[in-house]
């Protein structure tokens, strides 16, 4: 088997797919992407507030700064496609269409939550929308994605399974096994590596001998491109191209989405391991301000548009908090329900 791709390299070292998807989408589409990113951002800002206020507990990993990745990739998927994600998956769940109220209620551990309150922040599920979680073992979701794709391929369903994971996951043995298996069996998986440069406190240079992760992925003989993960349009374009190829039998593809998390790894993290200046630099590239700026410059967006979107979203989120607060907690007697399908109590 030979290498299946050799993406061209631009001067700056970033390689972009050679083929171009047919004409860009218009302003309405861009506004939609913007609004989705704002939605995730505002949702998570609220979560941080609720966590500090003692209403959300356990682990909370926010996606702030990385929204362009989930929004861009999701824009390339259809409702028939599947998603497997990590513990940093609020964004993926929301853009997938898991109802806000259900996601928020899950943060509160209520029975109206998308996982019945059982999972919390790290374990959002919505099988009706083919959203398969919410996996908190690093790289633990990759084999599931491979298996979902295997089922699709064996049945002849032309689905894509989008599998999200971080740069840290690339060091795990499971990553390797899954890349090989997907490539060997030509499975319809879209691997989406969210390279935010850190695995908790460990910078990628101290974790990966080869920090060019797309190059690493390519060594399995699979098309792999680095993408500017702070630019939602770039992500959307690359994802569309990749997803179309996957869907039409092109086998697995790998996107290295170069991004950054603006906040600490989790609410427990004092964030001592990186320079404040580095964080500030990346914040200059905030995907929301970036897209908004572009759209404003193109005359597609006014301050009022933004403000009213922000207000609408805020109202929706506030309502979801109210409904989550009011929702019932699971009775303790149901604790053992769903350990097995047949022995619900």
């Amino acid at each position: 088997m030979t290498r299946k791709t050799a993406p061209s390299t631009t001067a700056g070292g970033a390689r972009i797919p050679q083929a171009r998807p047919p004409g860009e989408a218009g302003p309405a589409h861009r506004f939609d992407l913007l609004r989705q990113m704002m939605f995730i951002r505002q949702f998570e800002d609220k979560c941080v507030e609720l966590y500090s206020g003692g209403e959300i507990h356990g682990f909370l990993h926010v996606y702030i700064g990385e929204e362009a990745v989930a929004v861009g990739v999701n824009s390339a998927l259809t409702p028939e496609d599947s998603i497997v994600s990590t513990y940093r998956e609020h964004g993926h769940a929301l853009v997938r269409g898991v109802p806000l109220d259900c996601v928020m209620a899950e943060m509160f551990g209520k029975t109206t939550g998308c996982s019945y309150g059982r999972g919390g922040s790290m374990h959002l599920f919505d099988v009706s929308r083919r959203f398969y979680g919410g996996n908190a073992i690093v790289a633990g979701g990759l084999p599931l994605a491979v298996g979902l794709a295997l089922a699709d391929k064996m049945r002849g369903d032309a689905r894509v399974t989008a599998c999200f994971f971080g740069d840290g996951a690339v060091a795990e043995g499971e990553f390797h096994e899954c890349m090989n298996l997907a490539a060997l069996w030509d499975l319809p998986v879209l691997f989406c590596c969210e390279n935010n440069r850190y695995a908790m406190g460990t910078a990628i240079e101290r974790a990966q001998a080869q920090t060019d992760l797309a190059l690493r992925a390519e060594s399995y003989g699979m098309p792999a491109w680095p993408v500017d993960g702070m630019d939602v349009l770039a992500v959307a374009k690359a994802a569309r191209l990749a997803a179309e190829s996957v869907r039409s039998g092109g086998g697995p593809h790998f996107l290295e989405l170069k991004t950054y998390r603006f906040r600490a790894h989790s609410m427990y993290d004092p964030d001592l391991y990186r320079d404040k200046a580095e964080i500030e630099q990346w914040k200059q590239r905030d995907p929301i301000t970036a897209l908004a700026g572009q759209m404003r410059a193109a005359g597609e967006l006014t301050d009022t548009d933004i403000e009213s979107a922000r207000d609408e979203i805020a109202a929706e989120i506030d309502a979801s908090v109210d409904s989550a607060r009011a929702a019932p907690a699971e009775p303790v007697d149901d604790l053992t329900r769903f350990v097995y399908s047949r022995r619900s109590s």
Partner: protein
């Protein structure tokens, strides 16, 4: 759950059209039947295809079903077990073969944190109708890294069902029932059983995977065993009978959930118990059984429950040392004598 009394395969079958076969062939017949009945079923694992399975269980199936459904995998235990979980979530009915329990450790994270956990953690949404088969046990002089009996560990995991076929009928019949279960089922096949020969009705088929079986009735002592040690327990019972000690032998069949009712009914009758388990003694399944008897039948006991387990050593290569490390008929007989004394 009720106990069923049935014959050890060494005894001749009594109904239907009995044919001579082996445990290996019975297992293969079960896979073949499942593949024919349900096209969502496929077999996946290392060397299940062109090699024919490391214990030759799937020999010939590649020719019949092709490489899509008799699917050889690379040496990637975590990925292909996890892929089995994903495929089950995606609507298939995979049978994943892990060559032996020794290598299953590499997939344990997937089995525990995904297969066993997804249903509960997702609030009842994500079913994992997966069957994992693996060989367990020692006895072939394959030394320390290839001789584990770790089914007791798996029996600790909520969300899993575990079965250990010890007879031809169970080798033939447990798989289909396992495949019909909406939750993950692990099948432990003791390596020493594949060549077990006996008769099986032509129309042998699915059997329950809920209950323990009383393989020999007796009134003096209850000997509890499963999988690879059932034969030794039966032989010991035979020897003891010659001495006038009448042992009841229970084959657990299902290691999780344990069939407490069958166990306690027997204890209530015999008041004396010996548990035989090829796992290392400390923390083996035998410990849990002893603890449950303590909890549920303490006042029935005329003597403390005894355990005949493997010595707590990495299993050594030389035959005499391996034999010394594993439960043997003599040890069972001695333990029974000690409790009936």
């Amino acid at each position: 759950m009720s106990a069923k009394t049935s014959q050890h395969p060494a005894a001749a079958a009594t109904a239907g059209e009995p044919a001579t076969t082996t445990y290996r062939e019975a297992m293969r017949a079960a896979i073949r039947e499942a593949m024919r009945r349900d096209d969502r079923v496929f077999l996946m694992g290392e060397d299940v295809g062109s090699y024919g399975g490391c214990f030759a269980v799937s020999l010939g199936l590649l020719a019949e079903f092709g490489p899509e459904r008799i699917r050889d995998t690379p040496l990637s235990e975590s990925a292909f077990v996890g892929a089995g979980i994903g495929a089950a979530m995606g609507g298939m009915r995979p049978i994943v073969e892990i060559m032996t329990v020794n290598f299953s450790l590499l997939a344990l994270d997937q089995i525990l944190n995904n297969a066993a956990t997804l249903l509960h953690m997702s609030g009842g949404q994500v079913n994992v109708p997966l069957v994992i088969r693996m060989t367990t046990g020692a006895g072939r002089q394959v030394a320390a890294q290839h001789s584990h009996s770790l089914e007791g560990w798996y029996a600790h995991i909520p969300g899993l069902r575990l079965v250990a076929p010890a007879t031809l009928a169970d080798a033939r019949g447990m798989l289909w029932t396992a495949l019909e279960d909406p939750d993950p089922v692990l099948i432990f096949e003791h390596g020493s059983l594949y060549n077990l020969r006996g008769t099986l009705d032509e129309d042998a088929g699915a059997v329950d995977i809920d209950s323990a079986a009383v393989r020999r009735t007796g009134g003096d002592v209850t000997v509890i065993s499963y999988g690879g040690t059932l034969g030794k327990a039966m032989t010991a019972a035979g020897e003891l009978a010659a001495d006038g000690i009448d042992a009841e032998v229970i084959d657990l069949r299902t290691l999780r959930p344990l069939d407490d009712a069958t166990i306690m009914a027997s204890v209530g009758k015999t008041h004396r118990v010996v548990i035989v388990d090829e796992g290392w003694r400390s923390g083996s399944l035998s410990a849990e059984i002893s603890a449950r008897i303590m909890e549920q039948a303490f006042f029935e006991l005329d003597a403390p429950v005894r355990r005949v387990c493997s010595a707590e050593v990495p299993i050594p290569y030389p035959r005499h040392l391996e034999e010394a490390a594993l439960p043997q008929v003599d040890g069972i007989v001695a333990a029974v004598r000690a409790v009936v004394r």
